[in-house]
């Protein structure tokens, strides 16, 4: 029985085709896991389903009836309920559990003006029992653990008696044991006959929960897996893709080691990570969400402290306490999610680009506007940034060009270690090639670490690929005739515990 059926769904924003014809269905009592890398279009699909966006073409049906939600509230009234990734969107932290569980009752028309606490609490207790929640309903939600809050958010969603429940990366901030509790709740809901769409790319979640896996890539369904046992490696391949690209790179072995990572523990209890990055070498660090990629980047840039182990730069101990110290030590980092982490929306191109090095462009603290612009124009030319002039507002640029500005920012001055976190995020293929080529051209004199999830991107830019899984190194590959099967197995964690070096 198909609870929800989607046929030929398309959605674009301006010229950007985000969904290019999605066909899929959800059945009662089944958990479908939707996998997809950043930018694959999962979140747009969810937003269309929950009524936040309209769609351009295609149809959606619920129990055989056409489903066309006008807004989020309308979607809920049709029985499509979403629990979003950010938990605190789903609960009101300052109120107690009972009120949170019953909140939708309070907003219903016809609800009494006065809140009868006793009745409310009894009704809430019933809901909680139903969901297998054990906490006291009088507890304030803010005092609960993240997992409990997540459960409350789901329980609140269940109060609407949904036909379709969408869970958007529900375990992203949960520990393993907390996740277990969530999974048993999901099992219970599956038993109650709810059709569940579960968005995640954590392999451990997927193994535990999935009845079926749907993979998305570039706005299309790139794979569907339903035969038991599920083909997890196939799913990762479908999600990340590894159609060998036509970029031809001359792989460098690199010179002297610059950055040495010595038995670094990325998270409590994870096996130590050791490797060294050499002069002129570009290393792609890849891995799924939760593999320790972001932790590694943040530790090197001084935003997190390692749980154990040390780092050295050119043989000297390096333990930055904050970003400023990292920059001072010649470690530069371009962050992912540029709009929150990098772009200064009020500034023009030149000022965005020169921001980290204003000291270089000033005399006695007074800025030398001309040399700022000179440097910016130079970088605009080198990276092929498409703009009218260096005083264009950053917001007038396309995503790819904005990203070039953000990368260009860190190429203005030579550095020892360059960290690029998802440098190709939200960037079209042309800009991606430009950025990649420029990073390779300038690689001499520094060690470059590129943190990417997509294997294509790693293969396009790196001399060496290091695969992280569960906070430790699962494999290393020189970027020559890479054994893709082994690589994907390491990414998805199905290769066995032994890290392999494929030189």
């Amino acid at each position: 029985m198909k609870t929800c059926e989607i046929i030929g769904l398309k959605k674009s924003f301006g010229g950007n085709h985000v969904l290019r014809g999605i066909d899929m269905h959800l059945s009662a009592g089944e958990v479908v896991v939707l996998m997809g890398a950043n930018g694959a279009g999962k979140s747009t699909l969810v937003k269309v389903l929950c009524g936040f966006h309209g769609h351009d073409a295609g149809t959606m049906h619920l129990d055989g009836v056409a489903y066309l939600p006008t807004d989020a509230a309308n979607a809920i009234s049709h029985g499509v309920v979403t629990v979003h990734q950010s938990i605190d969107d789903g609960v009101i932290p300052d109120l107690d559990v009972a009120t949170n569980l019953m909140l939708n009752r309070l907003t219903e028309p016809g609800a009494g003006v006065l809140v009868r606490d006793g009745a409310l609490r009894r009704a809430a207790q019933k809901v909680a029992d139903n969901m297998g929640l054990t906490m006291d309903v009088r507890t304030k939600v803010a005092d609960l653990s993240v997992a409990d809050r997540q459960m409350i958010a789901i329980a609140r969603a269940m109060a609407y008696e949904p036909k379709v429940l969408i869970l958007d990366e529900p375990t992203s901030s949960l520990s393993a044991s907390e996740a277990d509790r969530l999974f048993s709740l999901v099992d219970r809901l599956r038993g109650q006959g709810v059709a569940i769409l579960y968005i995640s790319h954590r392999m451990s979640d997927i193994r535990r929960i999935a009845d079926r896996i749907v993979c998305m890539r570039d706005g299309e369904i790139s794979g569907m897996f339903e035969q038991s046992p599920l083909d997890y490696d196939g799913a990762v391949t479908a999600m990340l893709g590894h159609s060998m690209t036509d970029v031809d790179i001359g792989v460098q072995d690199g010179g002297q080691p610059i950055l040495e990572i010595d038995t670094l523990a990325l998270s409590r209890g994870s096996a130590p990570v050791s490797f060294s990055a050499r002069d002129g070498e570009i290393i792609a660090i890849t891995g799924l969400l939760g593999s320790g990629k972001s932790e590694l980047a943040e530790i090197i840039f001084g935003l997190q402290r390692p749980k154990a182990g040390q780092m050295r730069i050119a043989g000297r101990a390096y333990a930055p306490q904050n970003a400023a110290q990292a920059v001072a030590a010649g470690v530069f980092m371009s962050f992912k999610d540029r709009s929150t982490n990098a772009v200064i929306p009020d500034f023009d191109i030149a000022n965005n680009m020169t921001l980290p090095f204003l000291r270089l462009f000033s005399r006695a603290t007074v800025l030398k506007g001309r040399s700022q612009r000179q440097a910016a124009q130079d970088m605009i030319r080198r990276l092929g940034i498409v703009c009218q002039s260096d005083d264009d507002g950053i917001g007038t640029l396309s995503g790819g060009n904005q990203q070039k500005v953000m990368i260009g920012r860190w190429l203005l001055k030579g550095c020892r270690v360059l960290l690029l976190d998802e440098p190709f995020q939200g960037v079209d293929i042309g800009a991606r090639r430009d950025i990649g080529a420029h990073i390779r051209e300038t690689a001499k004199g520094r060690a470059t670490l590129v943190f990417v999830a997509e294997l294509d991107e790693a293969l396009e830019i790196a001399d060496r690929i290091i695969v992280l899984n569960e906070g430790t190194i699962a494999g290393q590959h020189q970027n020559r005739n890479v054994d893709m099967e082994a690589l994907i197995a390491q990414v998805s964690g199905t290769s066995g515990a032994q890290p392999r070096v494929n030189a």
Binding site: A324, F335, P345, D346, V366, D392
Partner: protein, 338 residues
């Protein structure tokens, strides 16, 4: 002109044109408006709020706010009077004491916001009440003047020194004898200094970056906390300069909450958003904004308009400026020149 360029023109120069028209109108309709003396009066009447507004501009630049400036100014007023009249200190000591007080208040504001994570409005609101109360404690709520009775029964012997009063009362010759008062000169100097600091130095540029995207600024290695604290300290010091000039003009330590000073200077800074279509806090705009309010009030007073119409007009100008900033500028394409 196309619609687009017309809109851009209106955003950039609309407020300056309005200012110009106003000057023409008052010159024609108010007797004695168009004269060097009148210009000096206008500048004098906006000098103190203008100086405060320049300080609050610095906090607005880092996406903060300082509600305590009015009470910092009146605290400086009381402190300078207390120092000279009761403690019989010299003018220089009194001035330094006030500047130090302003810097310390700014430092505390900054630490509350940065270290203790108190939201800026709440931290500075608390500081405002604290100072309004604190400035009255040493004199049990009395104003300070020479000859006042002290708690021990004796009379205060000290007096405002001539050097101190000079700050508020002396006028420099410019074309006309005794034309430009000292506070106006200090206002202009402060405006230029703050403008240079915000627009031309890398520290100012980083403060704008913090105000626009604090996280991004931090991730390029900017010490965000230090700059935020610095912004509040600048605000505190400029507010205390305003208070010193107020004391020098009044010649006594009047108790006052300073709330009108706060509101007028915030209005000037917000009107400044609209000047030249900046759509953000800037020193030039703030100075023009203060001037705008000053010209309007001077003209209305000369035309015998009652006091309540002045508040009304002030409010109308502010609303208009905010529309300029938030509606028209938002219509224009994203991003701007820096």
């Amino acid at each position: 002109m196309t619609r687009e360029t017309l809109l851009t023109f209106a955003i950039r120069f609309g407020f300056l044109i309005l200012l110009f028209c106003m000057v023409i109108y008052f010159s024609l309709s108010a007797n004695g408006f168009a004269s060097p003396r009148s210009a000096a009066f206008i500048l004098q009447s906006v000098a103190i709020t203008g100086i405060l507004a320049l300080g609050v501009t610095c906090t607005l630049v880092v996406d903060g706010f300082d509600l305590s400036i009015g009470s910092v100014a009146t605290s400086a007023l009381m402190l300078s009077a207390y120092a000279m009249v009761i403690l019989e200190m010299s003018a220089v000591t009194a001035v330094l004491l006030c500047l130090l007080m302003g810097a310390i208040v700014g430092l505390i504001n900054g630490l509350l916001i940065v270290k203790f994570k108190v939201p800026d409005l709440l931290a500075t609101l608390g500081m405002m009440f604290l100072l309004i109360g604190l400035q009255r404690i040493p004199t049990q709520g009395n104003s300070i003047a020479t000859g006042m009775k002290l708690p021990d029964g004796s009379a205060a012997e000290g007096a405002f020194s001539a050097a101190f009063l000079w700050l508020g009362r002396h006028r420099f010759d410019l074309f006309v004898e005794k034309l430009v008062p000292v506070p106006v000169v200090i206002f202009l100097i402060t405006a230029v200094v703050i403008w240079v600091f915000l627009e031309l130095t890398r520290h100012g540029r980083l403060m704008y970056a913090i105000g626009s995207n604090e996280r991004a600024a931090a991730l390029v290695g900017t010490n965000v906390n230090r700059y935020k604290i610095a912004a509040y300290m600048i605000s505190g010091v400029t507010a205390s300069i305003g208070g010193i000039l107020l004391a020098a003009r009044l010649g006594r330590g009047d108790i006052a909450s300073g709330n009108n000073l706060l509101l007028d200077s915030v209005a000037a800074a917000l009107i400044g958003f609209a000047v030249l279509g900046a759509a953000r806090a800037n020193a030039f705009g703030t100075a023009i904004g203060a001037l705008f309010v000053g010209i309007l009030l001077q003209g209305l007073t000369m035309m015998n308009a009652p006091y309540y119409t002045q508040d009304f007009v002030k409010g109308a100008v502010l609303v208009l400026a905010l529309v300029f900033t938030f509606y028209l500028s938002a219509k224009r394409s994203a991003g701007g020149k820096t």
